[in-house]
Symmetry: C2
Subunit: 116 residues, 2 copies
Amino acid sequence: MPARTPEPPYYAVIFASTRTGDDAGYAEMAARMVELAALQPGFLGIESAPGITVSYWESEAAIAAWHANAEHLEAQRLGYARWYSAFELRVARVERAYSFRSASPDPPAGTDPADC
Amino acid sequence: MPARTPEPPYYAVIFASTRTGDDAGYAEMAARMVELAALQPGFLGIESAPGITVSYWESEAAIAAWHANAEHLEAQRLGYARWYSAFELRVARVERAYSFRSASPDPPAGTDPADC
């Protein structure tokens, strides 16, 4: 589901991962991290799909604070030790953005695999 | 699956979408666009999951050329008319990146939902 974000510039953290296959505790932690990120100062939105999560932030300082959040640090530790066999984490400055919303009504919720 | 990209800086195009539910021709076109993008000058890699695709490019000029590719323009037209009820397209400059590869062997291919 596309996140609604303000006019650029702002920052994106693009996290692309391959999982180990050890899923113990993963879904709960992932859900908790989304919840927790949303409470951080400077959080603008998040888009998540299996293997890719993009979060949006007002500033590099907001990203640094989120990175250092204690509960997030513990999630990162488990990510390295258990859940991810590989990942790429990229920090990017969003320079321009374009939104499209169809004139026709949205389909019923739950029909889009991106909603999972 | 994380794309292997060179050292920053480079550019990311982050495309997050919600689909209409009209899937006619979508999967074929999406696969064709990945194939075609990879042939473009300045293409660095792509990560794709249901609802989010991130492609990486050497420069803004490479992105502009891909945007104007004739076959891609036709795909864009069908995207507006048929496949997408909403999307956000963001162009961002990747400023730093961090890679992780686990010391333990990768799981067998196909075990990660991100491979879909």
